[in-house]
C-alpha cells in the first residue's frame, strides 16, 4: 500500500515535470512570436502577405532571440543559481 503510493507520487511527478517542460516551450515560442511580430511586421497591414523584408527580419529575429535565450540560460545556471526566483 505504501509502496503503491510512493509509486503513485513518483508517476505524478514525472507527468507534472513533463507538463511543466511543455508549458515552458510553449511559452518560449509564444513570447518569441509576439516579440518578433512587434519588431518585424508593419502594423499598418496594407497587405495580407509578409513581404521579403519582413520575412528576413523574422528569420534573424528568431535566431537572435534564440541566442539571447541561451546566453541568459547560461548566466542563470552559472550563477550557481538554477533559474529560480
Amino acid at each position: 500500500m505504501a509502496a503503491n503510493n510512493a509509486v503513485g507520487i513518483d508517476k505524478e511527478q514525472v507527468f507534472g515535470m513533463a507538463e511543466t517542460e511543455m508549458e515552458y516551450r510553449v511559452e518560449l515560442f509564444n513570447r518569441l512570436a509576439k516579440t518578433c511580430f512587434s519588431k518585424c511586421v508593419d502594423k499598418r497591414y496594407k497587405e495580407n502577405e509578409l513581404n521579403m523584408g519582413e520575412n528576413s527580419c523574422i528569420d534573424r529575429c528568431v535566431s537572435k532571440y534564440w541566442q539571447v535565450n541561451s546566453m541568459i540560460g547560461q548566466l542563470l545556471s552559472a550563477g550557481g543559481r538554477p533559474p529560480t526566483m
Binding site: K11, F15, A18, E19, M22, E23, V26, F29, N30, L32, A33, K34, C36, F37, C40, V41, K43, Y45, K46, E47, N48, E49, L50, N55, I58, D59, V62, S63, W66
Partner: protein, 84 residues
C-alpha cells in the same frame, strides 16, 4: 517509449489538452492584437469596411508569421541536440 500503454494514453491526452488550451490562447491573443491595431473608432457599434479589411490582413499576417516562426523554431530546436 518504455511507458506502459495506459501511461502513453495519459501522456497523449495531456499533450492534446495542452495543445487545445494553447490554441485557444493563441486565438484570444490574435483577436486582442488585431482589434488593438485596427479598431480605434467608437462612434458606431459595427465594424466599418476598412476596419474589417485591416483585421483580416492582420490575422492572416499573424498566422503566416506564426508558421514561419514555428519552422525556424523547429530547426533551432533540432540543432540543439541535447536542449537541457
Amino acid at each position: 517509449d518504455g511507458l506502459p500503454e495506459q501511461d502513453q494514453a495519459r501522456m497523449a491526452s495531456m499533450i492534446e489538452h495542452l495543445q487545445l488550451r494553447d490554441s485557444l490562447r493563441m486565438y484570444n491573443s490574435l483577436v486582442e492584437r488585431c482589434f488593438t491595431d485596427c479598431v480605434d473608432n467608437f462612434t458606431r457599434k459595427t465594424l466599418q469596411k476598412q476596419e474589417e479589411t485591416c483585421v483580416m490582413r492582420c490575422a492572416e499576417k499573424f498566422l503566416k508569421h506564426s508558421m514561419r516562426v514555428g519552422m525556424r523554431f523547429a530547426e533551432l530546436n533540432s540543432q540543439a541536440a541535447t536542449p537541457e
